[in-house]
Subunit: 213 residues, 2 copies
């Protein structure tokens, strides 16, 4: 029975099924492995139409991973979902400050979300360049503020907040970055869907590409 | 702007939007908060039709949580996604053995998946009663084997593997449990979708009910 296949065979078979069901698509050879892994993680074919990559985002993201640039996530789920084994091959550090006691204290005293302060803390470390947001619109809005007002220049933004209040709006704001700051690569999707699992899957797809070269 | 709402206001507003978009539905007053939180986590309304609860699953799950029964997850993402603060109120332990070095060694030597051995290890501890599977069909198949062949009687099974090979089949096998073992409560969905984020959201919904009820 199919579930007795080895994990790598299950993945290959899954990819064959996704290829067959999606059929002809507009994605470039570097973008498709990312979109396909998102569909693999979510079983949701809507991503085959809703994903968006800024120019050369995959190439630039792979390059940043190979350079060992640090990864910042907005949730511990995204943190957990990014392959430790693959990440450690390139020495990419990873951090998530949303549960940090100092961040919690500051958030209370300033009356703003922990997600905002967690992003700020992650961005303050010069070793960090890859920002992965799978949940909080406020984290993505804060990252965009850091770009516009404080000169932050991320190596890659993976922005896929999910939800009903602010998620789609935060991704529209990210999409607007392309015209303003064409040198900042980003990967996102349109609409309400997204999530920490999907954001982590994108990083994993890029890590596999970084390895395979 | 809406993102300046406090987190609890954002959630309430999201729930109002979900209620309005779903409209009349067949879920009971105890099931709906679970389905709604799954939609909130995924922004995917398909769950408003594809979820399935065995008789009294929510009531029995809430009861098991209140008794402090241990939680076993198949992925570190599901582990991370379950609210630590809420869980600790009832003293529910949590474990995930998929990255356990002993499990990895055994999996290699026996030629079976780590997910299978991780479930087996979780089930061996009598304090564990709540099994949360958001990724691996093999973990869910193994749990069902433990029920049938080794007399395991979980307090609750949350089975939502995602994917293209084995996921829907593993959930069909779980659905078949209802006729065979009507005393084992479970929550699942039909089809390929699912995921660690969704499985964790179900536990969080039950934890909130355990607290409020």
């Amino acid at each position: 029975m199919s579930v007795h296949l080895r994990p790598e065979e299950i993945e290959a078979e899954s990819f064959r099924m996704i290829d067959a069901e999606v059929g002809p698509h507009p994605w470039s050879p570097s973008e498709w492995p990312v979109v396909r892994r998102v569909i693999h993680t979510s079983a949701d074919f809507e991503y085959s139409r809703s994903m968006f990559f800024s120019a050369d985002a995959v190439f630039r993201g792979v390059e940043a991973l190979r350079k060992g640039r640090g990864i910042v996530t907005d949730t511990t789920m995204a943190y957990s979902g990014i392959s430790k084994v693959r990440r450690e091959k390139f020495g990419n550090g990873i951090s998530c400050f949303v549960a940090d006691p100092e961040v919690a204290r500051e958030a209370r005293s300033q009356g703003i979300t922990r997600s905002i302060l967690a992003m700020r803390k992650g961005a303050a470390d010069q070793d960090n360049g890859i920002f992965v947001i799978g949940n909080a619109p406020t984290a993505l809005f804060e990252l965009l503020r850091l770009v516009r007002q404080e000169g932050l220049r991320p190596d890659l933004v993976i922005g896929l907040p999910v939800g009903f209040v602010g998620a789609a709006e935060s991704k529209n704001a990210l999409l607007a970055l392309e015209a303003e700051y064409p040198q900042i690569p980003f990967i996102t999707n349109r609409g309400r869907k997204g999530g920490s699992n999907v954001a982590a899957a994108i990083v994993n797809a890029l890590l596999i590409m970084a390895e395979e070269g």
